[in-house]
Amino acid sequence: MRTALAMLCAVLVLAAGRADAQLDRSIVPGPGPAPATAFPDYDVLTMTNGLRVIVVQNHELPTVAIRLLVDAPPILEKDMAGVVDMTGQLMRSGTTRRSKDQLDEEVDRIGATLGASGLSVDASGLSRNIDALFELVADVTLRPSFPQSELQKLVMQTQSGLKARKSEPDAIVSILRKRILYGDKHPYGEVETEKSVGRITRAACQKVYKTWFVPNAVILAVVGDVQKDQVLALVKKHFGAWKKGTIPKPVAPAVQPLDQRTVALVDRSGAVQSAIRVGQTVTLPRTSPDVMPVTVMNKVLGGGIARLFVNLREKHSYTYGAYSAVGPDELIGAFTAQTSVRTSVTDSAITEILYELNRIRDEAVDGVELDRAKNGLSGAFVQSLEQATNVAGYAIDIERYNLPKDHFRTYLQRVAAVTPADVQRVARQYLAPDKMLVAVVGSGKDVKEKLAAFGPLRLYDEEGNRVAEKASAPVTLTAEQIFAKFIERTGGAAKYAAIKDRTIEVSGKIQEMDMKIRTVQRSPASLYQEVAMMGMVQKQVYNGTAGWTSSPMGSKDLTGEDLEDVQKEAPIESYGALAALGIKAEVTGRKEVKGKECYEVTLTTKSGSVSRHYFDVKDFLKVREASVKNTPRGPVEQVTDMSDYKPFGGVLIPTRNEQTVMGTTFVLTVDKCTVNGGVADSLFVKPAGK
């Protein structure tokens, strides 16, 4: 039946070919005559207080967008990184005329948007509401009240966001790039952290506001279904009384390029992909005549579907995308290539990126490829002119960076003028693959060694701080010696041997629910454990030969890993009994746990289940035990931190146990511990049936 259908399909396809036969599809249609591209007209006016106003008219839709921004250089925020951004947000959170609630209500009532962040205020809505929009923008810009309560809220929200950022590989790798390339003393190298945001004060925001929000530093762009005279009247009405001020001119420190290729890694264990940035700073102000050739060069290399994309995605299928970007800048510009690839090809992907960087320096680009890049840039530019807000953006750039007035009117000619020789010259001049930063966020154990081939490698945390890689001190002790020290330290073998039975009662709260655990051990190797929570009791028992769990739902034999667990925990002194259970113990290094230098001893059971035990190198008390349990949801790590050791029957036990499972931490404390109080045999009798 299937073949019959396939044959039928084949016949139909042939028929299809015939039906279309009158058209010769091998002929690629050429372009028609090039359409005229007119850069839309707009107006720029300077008010008497220095306020610059840009009006871009576009009457296709009855809408208007207002953008007000301070033409300020990047500002160094020092220990309050984030204060500039916070200033804008706080301005939007209350004025002397309107509370935040009132602002929100008025904006939504006319179906508008109003936002402020950093040194800009943006609003959009229907053009019939332009009066109300102007009033709102002016109120936020001229009369912010900086409410303390709103600041606290914003700080808390920002800190939550920064916490969330720690799990976003792209965000982490960007931070890493910034901090390493520019350094902490440069505005471009500053990174907002929970700490720096926590230091922001109302006074600091007011200072930023007073310093920068002066009309002679401000550009106001009004775009859409508006008339010039109407805009001017509104500007005079709302901003006419705004008084001129003086504008500071901060000087940013010079940025030193890297002297050799350097690798920076943030270890994100278990990551399925590596986020990669390969980049450097470039000295390329927006007014430089090299900006256009560099832009074309980047377009060939990685601007959209270009060499990097074709190589890493279409040829090697390492990634979903690979791109590069060049940002000209008055202070210091940047080049960055970026991609995210599966962990196993991290080094191969970097090799290919470097290969493409070298190729564009070493070989002249061929004419066809260059034309493609140039057509791509021209086409995108023409397409961008469709949106009046983009036109306004170009007009703002001309004002801010002192570009020639016809800078964008000549854009297409300037693209057309770039030659293969220009591309190669700027690639050689601006790109230094041997002195670039290779920043990676990925699974350290899988990529670290291979990355070292690209240059000296340093480790960083999620906020871009150096992580000292301790050359772990050699461990001369064996696992048995460490266990012996632990037994000695917690009371000595004789004291352990004197305990015939022991009952430990602990309690704690898990997500607001009370939990009680009673653990009974009887020498030589019986264990009874009872967990009570939400009125339910679950038991786990090992009687020296068999183990089972029971609950109101019935009972079940323990096998495999679960049985090994109870066997291991049953003896009063458990480390001495490991060998008999076939559990291997080996010292796997020194690690810092809870600020204490510890020996790490790894236990492996017969079934292969692994747990790690950490003993303080100074006093040999156990600080942590970590194990991985296989659950229906996959492997789950369980970590227990032990502290507050107290003696019971001459043996020290930790009375505070902090457990972390799947992101939830709860504390269990010992309420009572009875030694040699006698234990009922019935506890260890297996229930009949099932």
Partner: protein, 439 residues
């Protein structure tokens, strides 16, 4: 009864008065069943060609999820006249851009070029509708690419799996239970012949809508459409549409997902009727009330007042078949999900109990109107909208008039749909919690 009718009519009139900007278009069917819509907009010398196929992940078999999206990648592999990897380059050479996307119900392809290159775009797009080259090299390459796309968008991104988890928990029978990205293992299993059959069944003119919008001459464009698309034969295999009807959910589904995140999140999902139904518009208005703008109820309460969440959003996942009404929130640091959930629930109960005020009602109508007017500012956006309205509503002119359907919704409707659809028994609640370190 009569007054009500009159009232509705008045609203329609006023809606028409608001939408002063009308998108003019012509539409017709080619003999092979391809529906064609032409819209002239000469504000910039560019033209956008959108071709939307009425096939998405809901047309997949349960053991071939991700197939439609994977096929979208194959569509760029080439034709007898366009070599492997050349499709992108040709569009770029012409100074244009292109992309595609696959959703539950449709697959969208668009090419935007300077207006003198329209014929090239048509030659390319029609060429791959007629005769796509499907070979093992292309399939292998795209297998790798799509797996990385899945990792980047879903596995390695915080909260990236929310849609997949929500759909798979809320749907038991309907193919909406999986998402367009699907499962990598199934694509590995699919053979080249399966891709060819999929192509033959779904990538046919009578299962698509073509829109050409921008700087065009209507008469010449019609000639080009006839030249390039007219000779493509109709489909012969019947087009399989899912017949599964999701039974009403009667018991709450509740689960926890552990993800590589720092802040926990909660998702509440309720079943909602298909797009285009009166109740879907009422539910959509309800989402504006709950989370449209800073003054909306959930945002004000959870983010501003109680500081329980960093973000809260309600979304109508309005689809061709009945979809989901979602409410989701990411908890503020130190806040627990039960308190976030409880507060969302309180706000839902408030809508169910009390009629919203006239002032609030007017506000959400204004917001909706503003959003409707502002959405279509690019020819590319308009092209896709026109195709979608035709394919899923059978009326491309809704691009101009759909606002009236929102304006028909009354305060009583909003309360009623909240009562009818947002019931605890029919919902799915997911908690997203951070994985432990090193997990």
């Amino acid at each position: 009864m009569k007054t009500l009718y009159l009232f509705a009519l008045l609203m329609l009139v006023s809606a028409a008065a608001i939408g002063q900007v009308t998108i003019q278009f012509e539409q017709y069917d080619l003999p092979n069943g391809l529906h064609v819509i032409l819209h002239q907009d000469r504000s910039a010398p560019i033209v956008s060609q959108a071709l939307v196929y009425h096939v998405g992940s809901k047309n997949e078999q349960a053991d071939r999820t991700g197939f439609a999206h994977f096929f979208e990648h194959l569509m760029f592999e080439g034709t007898p006249h366009i070599g492997r990897g050349e499709f992108f380059k040709m569009v770029q050479n012409a100074g244009g851009e292109l992309n595609a996307s696959t959703s539950f119900d449709q697959t969208i392809y668009y090419i935007t070029v300077p207006s003198n290159q329209l014929e090239l775009a048509m030659w390319m797009e029609s060429g791959r509708m007629l005769d796509l080259k499907i070979d093992s090299i292309g399939v292998e390459t795209q297998r790798g690419v799509v797996k990385e796309e899945r990792k980047q968008g879903l596995e390695n991104r915080p909260y990236g799996s929310i849609l997949e988890q929500t759909m798979s928990h809320a749907f038991k029978v309907h193919p909406y239970r999986w998402t367009p990205i699907g499962s990598a293992q199934y694509i590995d299993r699919a053979g080249t012949d399966e891709f060819r059959q999929f192509y033959k069944q779904f990538y046919v003119p009578d299962n698509a809508c073509l829109v050409v919008a921008g700087d065009i001459d209507i008469a010449r464009t019609k000639d080009l459409v006839a030249k390039y698309y007219g000779g493509i034969p109709r489909g012969t295999a019947p087009i399989a549409r899912p017949k599964e009807v999701e039974p009403p959910q009667t018991v709450e589904v509740r689960d926890t997902v552990y993800d590589n995140i720092q802040l926990p999140a909660v998702i509440l999902a309720y079943h909602m009727p298909a797009q285009g139904t009166p109740d879907s518009y009422a539910l959509s208005m309800l989402t504006t009330l709950l989370s449209g703008g800073e003054s909306s109820r959930l945002t004000k309460r959870l983010v501003d007042k109680d500081k329980l969440a960093v973000v809260v959003q309600s979304i109508p996942l309005s689809l061709e078949d009945p979809g989901l009404f979602l409410a989701l929130a990411i908890a503020n640091f130190g806040k627990t999900l039960p308190e976030v959930e409880k507060t969302i629930q309180q706000e839902i109960e408030r809508v169910q109990k009390d009629l919203i005020t006239e002032a609030e009602f007017q506000k959400i109508r204004n917001q909706r109107e503003s959003e409707f007017i502002q959405k279509n500012s690019s020819v590319q956006g308009k092209a896709v909208e026109l195709a979608m309205y035709h394919l899923f509503f059978g009326d491309a002119n809704l691009v101009n008039t759909e606002l009236a359907r929102y304006m028909k919704v009354t305060r009583e409707d909003i309360r009623r749909v909240a009562q009818q659809y947002l019931t605890p028994d029919s919902r799915t609640v997911l908690y997203y919690l951070p994985k432990a370190q090193g997990q």
